[in-house]
Amino acid sequence: MTLNKMLVAMMASVTLVAGAAQAAELSIVSGDTGTGLQFLQSELDIFQEETGHVVTIVPMPSSTSDQFGQYRLWLAAGNADIDVYQTDVIWAPQLADQFVDLKEAFAEVADQHFPSVIESQTVGDKLVAVPAFTDAPALYYRKDLLEKHGKEVPTTWTELRQTAQEIMEAERAEGNTEIWGYVFQGNAYEGLTCNALEWVNSFGGGQIIEADGTISINNEQAVAALEEAASWVGTIAPQGVLAYGEEEARGVWQLGNAVFMRNWPYAYALSNGDDAAVKGNFDVAPLPAGEGEGAKSSATLGGWNFAVSQYSQNQEAAIELALFLSSAESQKRRAIEQANLPTVQSLYQDEEVLAASPFMAAWEEIFQNAVPRPSAPTQENYNEVSSLFWSAVHNTLSGNGSAAENLEVLEIDLDDLLQ
């Protein structure tokens, strides 16, 4: 690991020194997921053809928290070897000081993109990163099983619980002993924060911490939401869901062992792969709504962006690269080849995009319900806030204290942290 890093750093610095003359040599760092790096390389080839700048990819593990830890260290040390970083939607406020303001460079094309995405990358008056693609989860459901048992697609969590329970019991009675009703991301990590924020928000329970900084999580609707979620574990969801991330949930789902799943769009293409038991037998819908006042369907806003390091020796070329990767042309190729959701609104009506990824039409509705995680009001403390939140939720799900008790303590902890 360390040796690798040293090698990468050495190589990067050598290329930097060698290429400073005219056409710049840049380094871009990106996490590796599926065929993401291959796609990035093909984009960089086009970029090189157009501009003459040569770009090297520095690959990173797919875990976002591993990436974040490493980037933090590099940026803290003023590392000049990396010019462009691929950043998660929630990092902007935490790393804002170390990235270049892209507002001016981006001004021309800014109104092509979803305003909420641009807003999520704006800290104060500074545009920290430009969007590459966006992400919003959906409810995956088994068309064949719903049809077989004469059920509708659920629109509330109660309906989901009942439908899942009934289908699961009926299927098990028929000998399909492996089947479960619902799988989601219940492990204690950022993914649980996303899931639980959706539950709370869909019950009208706010967004943990509101945009103005008030801690709103300790309320009756949030308690009701977590109680509902806790009732799934061990009934319609396996006990092991408490250790599931995206991939574990997809594993159960793709083997045909779940009626419903909450997941990000990347699972759509994979679930339609030839080795998937659910191929052609599923569809997606917005996540269910809660109950009570202000109940609605909500989906946590995800997505990735490109930011330019303040310590880059070739800032102009690096900004050029970031803009290229977030351009409508690049996003279109990304949507077609990677099934990533574009942030350029017009691409949702683009025939070629819809032909390659027909599900994207369905996502436009999901995307309208997207709720941001409270990274903007919590600034540098976001990761700790998220960790406190997912711990409280995980405790509740595993029966370690009631929802009301855990949220009460969470409120005090958040208050201490943010005071």
Binding site: L73, G240, E248, N257, S387
Partner: protein, 326 residues
């Protein structure tokens, strides 16, 4: 025993005053040690000093060089609120930290205990003469040779509740009536981590003990045999006392390793409060959260704890790193 009897008079016969040659050799030895000391100071001493320094400042990763000295604030601060209530803040008043300390100690105790017992058994078996001993000795080292990250990832799939092989086996053999989510449930998370660590490190323990066993002269056992000493008594009266020096060194290596356990837990159960150890919690504060100074304080405390333990162990256990008993 025999070597002591022979060795003692020769040592006493040596002249007290060091000869010219002797002094020269000591000087040469110091010179040869110098590069290593410099390397150690650069790669171990400086970072250690730096992180101890940071633990007394308000450093954050966004502003490392603008850090200001705040004394013991990261360790413990006592604040009196306007209402007259006194509150305690800092690592030493943080229940999450003490939970991590307790997890670490618990982990170190149980893992080293089982690794010692199992390692001893394996070493005794391998010390016996049998066909193919060389191959078995090499094969048993495999778990230890696999990088921890790889074996931890491997185990996390094996322990998975839906497609893990352990649950599958347990169900087929009728040992489990429902799949268990080993790493997810707070009740079994520590057990899962312990099992993987014991699986991984027992070979290391066995190897060190085996080296100790092979130093024991065979004729002692022959003599015991002739006197009709029971094998169990042979083990406790001959093997154990004679292998003790090697065993003590092996145990201290393992305890030091276990006290700073990080990679295994980071991969298997990164966010479970039931298994979070001191290293994991300090990494979290250093790089994930915006608490670089607090994380430094936690690393410093971890360093102190390990240092104190090592000193006590060497002192109380009379460990002699030359390999002989004192």
């Amino acid at each position: 025993m025999t070597s002591e009897a022979i060795g003692a008079p020769t040592a006493a016969a040596q002249p007290r005053q060091k000869s010219e040659l002797m002094q020269q050799r000591v000087r040469a030895a110091r010179l040869f040690l110098l590069p290593m000391m410099i390397a150690l100071a650069v790669v171990a001493g400086w970072p250690l000093a730096r992180s101890i320094y940071f633990s007394f400042t308000d450093a954050t990763l966004n502003d490392l060089y603008g850090a200001e000295w705040i004394g013991f604030g990261n360790y413990l601060q006592i604040r009196v609120l306007e209402s007259g209530r006194t509150i305690y803040r800092g690592v030493l008043a943080d229940p999450a930290w003490w939970n991590a300390v307790w997890n670490t100690v618990r982990f170190a105790f149980w893992s080293v205990l089982w690794e010692t017992i199992l390692g001893m058994i394996v070493a005794l078996v391998l010390n016996a003469e049998f066909k193919g001993r060389g191959i078995v000795r090499a094969a048993i080292l495999i778990p230890w040779a696999i990088p921890t990250i790889v074996s931890a990832r491997m185990w996390s799939w094996m322990l998975n509740d839906q497609f893990g092989i352990l649950n599958d086996l347990g169900m087929r053999l009728g040992l489990l009536n429902a799949p268990v989510a080993w790493t997810a449930s707070p009740d079994t998370a520590m057990l899962a981590v312990l099992v993987v660590d014991i699986w991984k490190t027992t070979p290391f323990m066995a190897l060190l003990i085996l080296a100790g066993l092979q130093m024991i002269p065979k004729d002692i056992y022959e003599a015991a045999e002739i006197d009709g000493v029971h094998p169990v008594k042979q083990f406790f009266r001959i093997t154990l006392p004679l292998v003790r020096p090697a065993l003590m060194v092996a145990i201290i290596f393992r305890v030091l390793d276990a006290l700073r356990i990080f990679d295994l837990i980071y991969v298997l159960t990164p966010n479970s409060a039931a298994t979070k150890t001191m290293s994991v919690i300090s990494q979290e504060n250093l790089f994930q959260f915006n608490n670089f100074a607090e994380g430094s304080a936690q690393s410093t405390l971890l360093f102190l704890l390990i240092a104190i333990f090592t000193i006590l162990y060497i002192w109380l256990g009379k460990v002699n790193f030359d390999g002989g008993d004192r």
